[in-house]
């Protein structure tokens, strides 16, 4: 695997730290007038999502990580893996539970997702920003409350639970923001 010098560090560069793929989110050089330069680096561990900080002596080398984002269609979950397909090549990829942990409640069959591949395997999945899902369970609300002032929890077909206005009924379809987990509106 190719190595990368700190001189090539920039935001978005993917490298391996302690065997895990990381993405640089901030890189500042510390260059005293006379003295060794260092790079203050903030990076996100692409598997755990945690942001870490380390100070690298300039000129140090790290191992490059073969990480790429690709748009794939979500196919189905077989109980163990979540299957995705590249609609152009029909190549299929299977993602483990760890890769979809935070987002599985937003995965809808046929939806296009941005999948991060590390050495060809999915390590994280980003669902579409907005998804349409059916309400499968919620308390019956007051019909007259159309102002949406109040709210109640609703369970959607994928298992996601969101706060919805009181007028939303079982069987209705709603649009949700997958990044914030918020209800946006009724789907037409």
């Amino acid at each position: 695997m190719a190595s990368v010098s700190t001189n090539e560090f920039k935001n978005g560069l993917k490298f391996l730290m302690d065997g895990q793929p990381c993405n640089i989110v901030d890189n500042q050089i510390v260059q005293p007038g006379k003295g060794q330069a260092f790079n203050r680096v903030k990076f996100r561990n692409l598997i755990t999502g945690r942001v870490l900080e380390k100070t690298f002596k300039s000129g140090e080398k790290v191992e490059a990580a073969d990480v790429m984002d690709t748009d794939l269609q979500y196919l189905y979950n077989d109980g163990e893996f979540w299957h995705f397909m590249d609609p152009a090549t029909f190549d299929q990829y299977q993602a483990s539970e760890a890769a979809v942990a935070d987002v599985q409640k937003w995965l809808i069959e046929q939806d296009m997702c941005t999948v991060t591949l590390w050495n060809g395997d999915p390590i994280s999945v980003m669902p579409p920003k907005q998804v349409v899902l059916e309400v499968v369970e919620t308390d019956p609300g007051l019909k007259g409350d159309t102002a949406g002032t109040g709210g109640k929890p609703a369970t959607l077909s994928t298992g996601a639970v969101v706060q919805v206005p009181l007028f939303i009924q079982i069987g209705e379809k709603v649009i949700c923001n997958t990044q914030t987990g918020d209800y946006i509106s009724r789907a037409k």
């Binding site: 050089i29 007038g33 006379k34 003295g35 060794q36 100070t55």
Partner: protein, 335 residues
């Protein structure tokens, strides 16, 4: 970035980095800085930016270019200066008296909110000035732009005690420096040998101490370790210390000064040490300025102190800018 010279990209990037009103201030400040030295009868010198030799300093990377001269079949490598130090010292050897340079210098590879590859430096030399006198004058120059901030003089050793709880940094161990970085909860350091005391000490300085220096004042940090003397004299009282200082305002290094080393032999030895360090680290070596060494030998450098000050940094502090480009016409990114 640099390579995108398309018209489409240029339409978004042709404007100056600084606001015009900032450039008006900059113009006034440049005039006031010059006036400061003209009033004190210090002669302005515009030494060449191009030189056949370069600084051997291990951590400075000089830009270079190929110069074509008539009557010669091949081009010659010339380096762009990282500071006007060597030609200014040759002028001092030749009897110039007090001199200053206010102009551009270049440092390859340096780019951050506090660094630019091409930047403006103010460098001056004062005959007969002690380190203390030079620190005082440097602070007064800074006051020209930043107003009457109080001036504080602190030795390197005092600063380690006061801001990092290290009682005697010159005798401290690498382990004590590492423990200090941990005590201040700083991020883990990658690539430094556990016993490399000089580097751990540098990290305590840059990561722990410097951010605390120059808060609402001008802090002159004096008596750097002898191994970082560069071309400063070693203290006669304490061979662990060099007569070198740096000046900080709001945690930002603004200036670096020396009571200047005069002996040609010692200067040559320090140059050689720097070259050896370059070789050991696999960094390209550079031709030494033998004309400087000849001047030091033939005529001798008069007793003097010198200092170099980062002008863009000074101006960026004056307007509270977050990066140097905010006080520059065009930065390396849209030059």
């Amino acid at each position: 970035m640099q390579n995108d010279l398309t018209l489409e990209h240029a339409k978004r990037n042709w404007r100056p980095c600084a606001k015009i009103e900032t450039l008006q201030k900059r113009s006034q400040w440049l005039r006031q800085l010059r006036a400061f030295f003209y009033a004190r009868e210090v002669m302005e010198v515009d030494t060449p930016m191009l030189s056949q030799s370069a600084t051997p300093d291990r951590h400075l990377d000089s830009l270079k270019t190929a110069v074509r001269l008539p009557g010669q079949s091949s081009t010659h490598i010339y380096y762009l200066h990282t500071s006007p130090e060597y030609p200014m010292k040759r002028l001092l050897c030749a009897g110039s008296g007090d001199i200053f340079y206010l102009g551009k210098v270049f440092r390859n590879g340096d780019l951050s909110p506090r660094h630019q590859v091409e930047f403006t430096m103010l460098e001056w030399y004062r005959l007969g000035f002690s380190l203390a006198e030079m620190m005082q004058e440097t602070a007064e120059v800074i006051q020209v732009v930043l107003g009457n901030l109080p001036i504080e003089v602190l030795t390197y050793q005092q600063a380690f005690l006061q801001y990092a709880n290290l009682a005697n940094i010159h005798n401290a161990t690498a382990a004590e420096c590492r423990a200090c970085l941990r005590a201040f909860n700083l991020p883990e350091v990658v690539g430094v040998e556990a016993d490399d005391k000089a580097l751990w000490e540098q990290l305590v300085l840059t990561e722990v101490i410097e951010p605390q220096l120059g808060v609402d004042r001008i802090t002159c940090l004096s008596h750097y370790p002898a191994r970082e003397a560069a071309l400063a004299q070693i203290s006669t009282g304490n061979p662990q210390e060099a007569l070198r200082f740096e000046v900080f305002v709001h945690g930002m290094e603004l200036a670096n000064g020396y009571q200047e080393l005069q002996e040609a032999g010692a200067t040559h030895r320090r140059f050689q040490q720097s070259l050896q360090q370059r070789q050991a680290d696999g960094v390209e070596t550079v031709p030494l300025d033998n004309r400087l060494l000849a001047g030091l030998t033939d005529a001798g450098l008069p007793a003097c102190s010198g200092v170099a000050l980062g002008v863009d940094r000074l101006f960026s502090l004056a307007i509270g800018a977050h990066q140097l480009s905010e006080v520059m016409t065009f930065s390396i990114e849209n030059a």
